[in-house]
Subunit: 478 residues, 2 copies
C-alpha cells in the first residue's frame, strides 16, 4: 500500500483508544476538538509542535464573517446573508462549492457568537484604511474587494473582516483564547506528537494513527474518526513543484513549521482526492497606506494589469499569476509616500515618464503610452480600462515620477496554499468518485474549502473554524 498507511494487524500495542483523534492544533483543530468533546466524544488532539497555535497563531487573526453579525451591527454596518453570499460567490474563484458557501453565509452570525463564547474578544470599533488586520485593537475592517468593480455592483459592500482585539497581528490572541477553551474542555492535547501514518483497515475504514514522539512510534486508536487539521503545504518544495512551482519564488511563506503538507499526503495515500492544489493566496501589500492606490501598477511591458484599488490579494494574484511577478507601482510627487509595511525600495525616479521608463528598462514608449491613456481618462475621474474606484483616480502628472519595486525576486509578496483534501460539508474526506473514506475527516488548510482560487482576508481562519466545528460534530457522531 502507499507510504503512510498501515494496517491494524501491524500495530502490536495501542497507546490509547479514544472516540475522536484530531491531528494538529491550529484554529481548525481547536474548533474540531471543542465541538467533538462538547458532543460527548472522548477527544484527543495530537500536535507535532511543543504547543498549540500552528499557522493561525502567526496570522493576522482576521476572520471573514458577515450577514449582520453583532460586531457589524455594533459598528453601524448593515449586511445580509444574501449580499455576503453574492460577494463570495463572485470572488472565491471558479467552480465554487455553492453548498458550502451558502451554509457559511447562513450561519456566519452564529459562528461569530460561538467565537465570542469561546472567549475571543472583538472591539466594536471600525478601522478604515487597511486590507486586513489593523495596527490597532479595532475589531472590524474591509478585508476584500467588496468596494471594487465589478463586486460593488454584484453585492452591496460591507466590511466583514472580524479581528480579535490585539494590535498589529491578532492571530496570537485568537489562538491563545481557542487553546484556553480547548484546555478548559474535556478534550485532551498531546503535544510533540507528529502523526506519520494512518491506520486503515483492509476495507478502507480509518481506525487510528501512528505518531512519533521523542523518536518513538505510538499508535492511537479512534473508535469514531480521525480528523486531519494539519495545515497547508507552502513549506514543502516537492509539493510546490508538482502543484504550483511559481510560488517558490515568493519571499514570505505564511506558515508555521508544520505546513509541509504531511496530512494532505496521508490523505492521498489513503485514497483521497484533492482539489485546487494549484491555488494560493498571494498578497502584494504595496497599496498600504491606501493613498498609494492612486498610483498605477505596470508590468515588464509597461502595461497596466489590475485595478490598483482592489484587495492586495487580488493585486498579488494578478502580478504573480499573470505577469510573472514583474511589476512596479508608478507614482508622482503628489502621490509618493513610503509604504507602511513592508518598506519598499524605489526602483527608479525620473523627471518625465520617458526618463522613468528608460531607468526601468521598459520598452521605449510603453510607459509613456500607458500613462497618457490613464491620465486622459483620469482627468474626468474615470478609468474605463480597469474601473479603479473613483476615489483613487487622479492624473499622475507631477514630476518627479517614481517606481516602487514590486518584483517577486526583490520585494515582498506573501503566500499560503488554498488547496487540499476534498471534503463534504461535514468534513468527510472524499475519494475520487466523491464517496466518503470511512472514519476520515478534515478541516482547515489541509482541505479545500471555500476558496477555489480567489481570496479575501479571513476566509481561511473563517472556514477552518466553521467547517472544523462541523467535522468535529460529524466525527463525534461516528
Amino acid at each position: 500500500m502507499a507510504t503512510g498507511i498501515c494496517r491494524p494487524e501491524d500495530i502490536s500495542k495501542w497507546e490509547r483508544e479514544v472516540d475522536v483523534i484530531v491531528v494538529g492544533l491550529g484554529a481548525a483543530g481547536a474548533a474540531v476538538a471543542l465541538e467533538a468533546s462538547a458532543a460527548g466524544a472522548e477527544t484527543l488532539v495530537l500536535e507535532r509542535a511543543g504547543g498549540g497555535g500552528g499557522t493561525s497563531a502567526l496570522s493576522g487573526g482576521v476572520l471573514y464573517l458577515g450577514g449582520g453579525t453583532a460586531l457589524q451591527k455594533a459598528c453601524g454596518f448593515e449586511d445580509s446573508q444574501e449580499e455576503m453570499f453574492k460577494y463570495l460567490l463572485a470572488t472565491v474563484g471558479e467552480a465554487p462549492d455553492e453548498e458550502k458557501l451558502r451554509l457559511y453565509c447562513e450561519q456566519s452570525c452564529e459562528h461569530y457568537d460561538w467565537l465570542v463564547a469561546q472567549g475571543v474578544p472583538f472591539n466594536p470599533v471600525f478601522y478604515y484604511g487597511c486590507s486586513g488586520e489593523p495596527p490597532t485593537t479595532d475589531g472590524l475592517v474591509w478585508s476584500g474587494s467588496e468596494r471594487s468593480y465589478p463586486y460593488c455592483e454584484i453585492a452591496k459592500p460591507a466590511p466583514r473582516g472580524h479581528v480579535p482585539a490585539r494590535e498589529n497581528v491578532a492571530g496570537p490572541l485568537l489562538m491563545q483564547k481557542l487553546c484556553e477553551a480547548v484546555d478548559a474542555s474535556p478534550a485532551e492535547v498531546a503535544t510533540n506528537h507528529r502523526c506519520v501514518e494512518l491506520v486503515q483497515e483492509a476495507d478502507g475504514l480509518v481506525v487510528g494513527v501512528v505518531a512519533q514522539t521523542l523518536g518513538e512510534r505510538r499508535a492511537f486508536r479512534a473508535r469514531r474518526g480521525v480528523v486531519l487539521t494539519t495545515g497547508g503545504f507552502i513549506l514543502e518544495d516537492r509539493m510546490l513543484d508538482k502543484y504550483m512551482p511559481f510560488v517558490k519564488g515568493v519571499h514570505l511563506r505564511v506558515a508555521a513549521d508544520g505546513d509541509d503538507g504531511s496530512g494532505i499526503r496521508l490523505g492521498i495515500a489513503a485514497g483521497a482526492s484533492t482539489s485546487h492544489m494549484d491555488k494560493a493566496s498571494i498578497s502584494l501589500p504595496v497599496t498600504q497606506p491606501w493613498g498609494l492606490k492612486r498610483g498605477i501598477l505596470v508590468n515588464a511591458r509597461g502595461q497596466r494589469f489590475v485595478d490598483e484599488s482592489c484587495y492586495y490579494g487580488d493585486v498579488g494574484e494578478a502580478a504573480l499569476y499573470h505577469n510573472d511577478g514583474h511589476a512596479w507601482l508608478i507614482v508622482d510627487d503628489e502621490i509618493f509616500e513610503q509604504p507602511e509595511y513592508p518598506p519598499r525600495e524605489v526602483s527608479a525616479v525620473g523627471e518625465s515618464p520617458a526618463e522613468l521608463e528608460r531607468e526601468l528598462g521598459l520598452p521605449e514608449g510603453s510607459l509613456e503610452a500607458t500613462l497618457a491613456l490613464y491620465n486622459r481618462h483620469a482627468e474626468s475621474k474615470s478609468d474605463p480600462v480597469f474601473h479603479k474606484t473613483e476615489e483613487y483616480v487622479q492624473p499622475i502628472v507631477n514630476p518627479p515620477f517614481g517606481a516602487f519595486d514590486c518584483n517577486v525576486e526583490s520585494s515582498l509578496y506573501a503566500a499560503f496554499t488554498l488547496g487540499g483534501l476534498e471534503c463534504d460539508i461535514d468534513g468527510r474526506i472524499l475519494d475520487p468518485e466523491g464517496n466518503a473514506i470511512a472514519g476520515l475527516y478534515g478541516a482547515g488548510r489541509a482541505t479545500s474549502a471555500l476558496s477555489t482560487g480567489g481570496y479575501s482576508s479571513g476566509l481561511s481562519l473563517g472556514d477552518g473554524t466553521f467547517f472544523g466545528r462541523r467535522a468535529g460534530r460529524a466525527a463525534a457522531a461516528g
Copy 2:
C-alpha cells in the same frame, strides 16, 4: 477503501491470468503492449471502445522527436540531443522533470527508428507554414516555438514535428499502423472491456483489474503488472471543476470517448499522487496561414499580450489563462485573409483604429494607443514589447482595419489535459512520498510526463509512446 478498489478475496472467479494487463489501446497502450510482449510477457490489452485508437487516432498524428533523426537528416536539417533538450527544458513548463526530458532527447532517434520499424511511414519532405500537422503527406514540420524569442536564443532551432504520411490529420494512420503491429505481436486485445476496478492486495500490491463487458463484470489477474494508459480527463466536467474549470468553456475538447479520467481516478483510489492536473494544451489556431502572424492580438483592454509569431499553443495559453479568453486578431487590409482552419468570424471592421475600437467596445483610446506603439517600432522592423519574429513585423496602417474573433465563447480553441498520475522514468506509478505502488504502471495522458504546462505539438504522442515502451518493459520484468 476508496471506490474503484477491490481485494483479491472479493474475486470469486478470474476470467484470465496473464503477465501484464494494459488498460487502453491508444498510442501509449500500443507501445506498452508491443514492448511487454516483445520482452516475453504474456500481455492482454483491455480497451473500452469497440476498437483500438483512442484519442491518438483522431489527433494530428505529430510526434515531437529530434536530436538528428533519420527524417530530419533526410530533410536537410541539423539537430542535436543537446539543442533539443535546451529547447524543451525552456518550454515544457515550470519545474520540469529533467531526467525524463534528458532520456527522451537522448533516445529520440532510436525511438523514431522504432516507430518506422512498427510500420509507421514518414515522407522525407519538409513542409513550411503550419504549427502542427500539414495538409499534405509531408513528414516534417515546425511544431513549437523554436524560432520565437527567447527560445531561438536559448537553443538552435530545428523542426521536430514528425508526421506520418497522411493528408490533413495523420493520427488515424499512426494508430492503424500501431494497432496492426499489436495484432501481429503475441499481445492479445479484448475490446469492449471497460476497466472499472483495480484489484489490490491488503499490502498494496496491484494484482489485476475488474472490467465490465456487455453488462458483466470480469476479473483479470496480472502476475507482473497493470499498466494504465487510459488517456486524460478533458471530457469529465467534475474533474475539470476541481482542477481547471476555465477549460470548460473551450469549444473543441480534443478527445475520443474515453478521456473521462477513469484511469486517473482508479490510480488515485489506489493511493497514487497526481501532478500538473491544472495544466492543459490550449490551442488558438488563428495565425494560420502564417501571414496572419503580421496582425496583433489584443485583449478586452485593447492591450497586446503575446508574441503573435509563436506556436499557436502558446498563443492559446496566453489568451485563455491570462486574458480570460477574450481576444481579437487585429489586421489591416494588406494582412487580411481568411484563416484556413477553422474559418473565423470577423468581429468588426473600421476605417480607422478609433472606429474599430468603438465597434469592438474597447476602452476609448486603448486600441489606438496599442497600434500607435506597435507601428512606431514596426517601422524599423522591431518589436521591443513582445519580440515578434522580424519576418512578421510590419506596420498595420492600411484601412480598412479588421478584427478576427478570438473569444473563447464564440470561436475555436482546442484543449486537452496534460496532468495525471505521477510516474518514474519506467512508468511506475508513485504514491505521495515518491515510492512506487507495486504492480501499477502508467503512460500517456493518464500520467504527467514531459509537459508540466508548456506544450509543443507532438509531445503527447511522443512521450506516450516513448515512456509507454519503457513501462511495458518494466512491467514485463515485474
